[in-house]
Amino acid sequence: MAWEWHRPLEARQLTLAVLSFVLVTIGGLVLLIPPYFLQGEITTVPGVKPYTALEQEGRDLYVREGCYLCHSQQIRPFKTETDRYGPYSLAGESIYDRPFQFGSRRIGPDLARVGGKYPDSWHWLHLRNPREIETRSNMPAFAFLEETPLDTSTTQRKLEVLRWLGSPYSDRELEHAVADARAQMATIADGLRSGGMALSDVQAQSEAIALIAYLQHLGRDLGPYAIPLKTAQVEEGR
């Protein structure tokens, strides 16, 4: 009944364990190592730049709040997807993404090219309470983000680590990381204020501003393909 040739193996713990481990490493090696050497497979996309200090902080907030659990950032090469979200995602677009944020579900729409699709004021109101803009939305309200000041105590350190890992930040960008972040915040806050939003000083330096900076960057590195701002789509929420 039993295969006799296998029986000695069943009595040798080390051999069985090592053999089983060797077997599982094969698939891992084949899948994980070659992509690093087949650089041709990952097309470099001109125009793709690392995130600014503020955008990177916003990205870390996107990660912190688990946005990827409802929003993908990966447009598939189907006409219905490119019609809805824009050009399909390229490998070269995410080379500075640590961690990647492709996501695995679309409880909400894909965000790979949401940058520039809506004005900052739309995001500001939408983050505060999505149902103010779209009554059928089931997205949580992120009002607490605009009441929480952005913590920039590790901003410079973050860019340093990212440069060490491969993002080509200049010395100037590292030294001025916090100042750059503050300046970009002020620009966004001023824009919101001139658009009629009443922002307190706390709100003007809040996490919500950083998150908006990140969202507005998404998908805009692809210069020639950049999606023009379509305010007409605002009320449609697609």
């Binding site: 009944m1 029986r7 069943e10 009595a11 713990q13 069985l16 364990a17 089983s20 077997l23 599982v24 490493t25 094969i26 698939g27 891992g28 899948l31 994980l32 992509p35 087949l38 990952i42 870390d60 990660v63 912190r64 688990g66 659990l69 409802c70 993908s72 598939r76 090469p77 219905t80 019609d83 809805r84 995602s89 490998a91 677009e93 995410s94 500075y96 993404d97 640590r98 961690p99 990647f100 944020q101 492709f102 695995s104 579900r105 679309r106 409880i107 909400g108 059928r136 089931n138 949580p140 992120f142 607490f144 590790t154 350190r157 973050k158 680590v161 060490w164 890992l165 491969g166 697609r238």
Partner: protein, 471 residues
């Protein structure tokens, strides 16, 4: 055995917590008003997945493997001290995971969300488990190692490899780090890990439980040793290749996606071999299934295993994946495996062990029977609406008008699946009800039993391990 009791009870409590949290997030999707500030879906969902996978399931695996290894090898565990450290470290890590995840300390890699200090703790705990488990087998008094032990040994080694390589990250501060990999490479390694977390946490060690506890409960040897050999080697070899099926139509190189699809399809064979090996073990004793809720759980568990290991490969085919990916179908698929196969097998394992660990009999077999039926009804009520809503989403996203324009806005697809999300929550509530029934049953069982070996049996248990080989 005190440690096995500790693992069994902790697992049940984490299961209760994790499934309750699951119900909460299901309700949040229907009624977004149930998100309270930072306590929203995005932060709570990882608490659900970590609590049920690493709290409940791993807890039962630790309990079951420690219970069985002593009986299969006829020795006590390698080290009582390591066993205790293992138990407390694991409970501490799960509790710390819940707290840090709610605080937003996450790497965002699904099922590997914990930040670097906890990752280090997990590695230490896993090494302790490995030393204790391998050490126990090393001093065994039975020369042959039963198949369940192969599955557990393979799971320990493979999970160690997966966990370490997927979590390589560079710390920025105490609870923030950046992945050593970026973009597509990061995605590739994450789903190599993520898929095999399903494989080597939710499948391989659960098969170990099945191979030991099903024959014990049925009072019959496993159907075929030859099939066990085939099942083991082919399953572990093929499983590891299938990760890229999570990245179909992504920017991952096509050859890698295709490898993922091909190996996913091949995976049907070992999976079904294992299912048949379990089901055919009951050959000649199917009458016992009529009266025994534990066997019912094993049988329905294996059936769900067979079903979801057929569904999974189908979803890895590009054509199907283009419809199913990003939809609720994935969640339905996961839960037919997680509730149907993993949880039912874990319940049966706990029902088997707990009365024996407290030297008594189960307080109420009828209550366990009720648990089985409520759970099964819950799974069907959960999975069916998820299939329907998943296909609905997929079809609505791709629907076009005669002029080629998109038929639906995204928000219309959100409204269309709301009713199914409600039914799903009801299914989850039913499943949770079953666990509450189990909890009552376990508490009563413990109350009527005692951790101490009854005096009249003491002479039979020199090593506190009743003799029992698994075949």
């Amino acid at each position: 055995m005190a440690v096995v009791r500790g693992f069994a009870l902790s697992a049940l409590i984490w299961g209760l917590v994790g499934m309750l949290v699951g119900l909460v997030i299901a309700l949040q999707l229907v009624w977004p008003e149930l998100n309270f500030g930072p306590l929203h879906f995005g932060r709570i969902r990882p608490v659900h997945t970590n609590a049920v996978i690493f709290g409940f399931t791993l807890g039962v695996v630790f309990a079951g493997s420690y219970y069985a290894v002593q009986r299969l090898c006829r020795v006590r565990l390698f080290s009582d001290a390591l066993s205790r450290i293992h138990l407390w470290m694991w409970n501490g890590i799960i509790a710390a995971a819940a707290v840090t995840l709610l605080l937003g300390k996450t790497t965002s890699k699904e099922y590997a969300e914990l930040e670097w200090p906890l990752d280090l703790a997990v590695v230490v705990m896993w090494v302790i488990y490995g030393i204790n488990f391998f050490g126990t087998i090393a001093k065994r008094r039975v020369p042959q190692m039963y198949v369940a032990l192969w599955f557990w040994m393979s799971a320990i080694l493979t999970v160690a490899m997966l966990y370490v390589f997927n979590n390589l990250e560079f710390p920025v501060s105490a609870f923030k780090s950046y992945s050593l990999y970026s973009g597509v490479h990061d995605a590739n390694i994450q789903w190599w890990y993520g898929h095999n977390a399903v494989g080597f946490v939710l499948t391989v060690p659960i098969l170990g439980l099945m191979y030991y506890f099903l024959p014990k409960q049925a009072g019959r040897p496993i159907y075929s040793h030859r099939l066990s050999i085939l099942h083991f080697w082919s399953l572990i070899f093929i499983y590891i290749w299938a990760g890229p099926h999570h990245l179909i139509y992504s920017p991952l190189p096509d050859w890698a996606q295709s490898l993922g699809t091909v190996f996913s399809l091949m995976l049907i064979l070992p999976s079904w071999g294992g299912m048949l090996n379990g089901l055919l073990t009951l050959r000649g004793s199917w009458d016992k299934v009529r009266t025994d809720p534990l066997l019912k759980m094993f049988v329905v568990g294996l059936t769900f295993y067979g079903m979801s290991t057929f569904e999974g490969p189908m979803m890895a085919v590009k054509t199907v994946n283009s419809l199913s990916h990003f939809t609720n179908w994935t969640i339905g698929h996961v839960h037919s495996g997680a509730l149907g196969w993993v949880a039912l097998t874990c319940f049966a394992t706990l029902y088997y062990m707990i009365p024996r660990l407290w030297h008594t009999t189960l307080w109420s077999v009828r209550l366990a029977e009720a648990h089985f039926w409520v759970a099964t009804l819950g799974i069907v009520t959960y999975v069916t609406p998820m299939w329907i809503s998943g296909v609905t989403q997929g079809l609505m996203w791709r629907a076009v008008n005669p002029d080629g324009s998109l038929t639906y806005t995204f928000i219309e697809t959100v409204g269309a699946i709301r009713i199914y999300d409600m039914i799903r929550a009801a299914g989850g509530a039913l499943f949770l009800t079953g666990v509450i029934l189990m909890f009552i049953n376990v508490i009563r069982t413990i109350q009527q039993g005692s951790p101490a070996v009854p005096a009249e049996h003491a002479r039979l248990v020199p090593g506190a391990a009743p003799a029992a080989a698994g075949r």
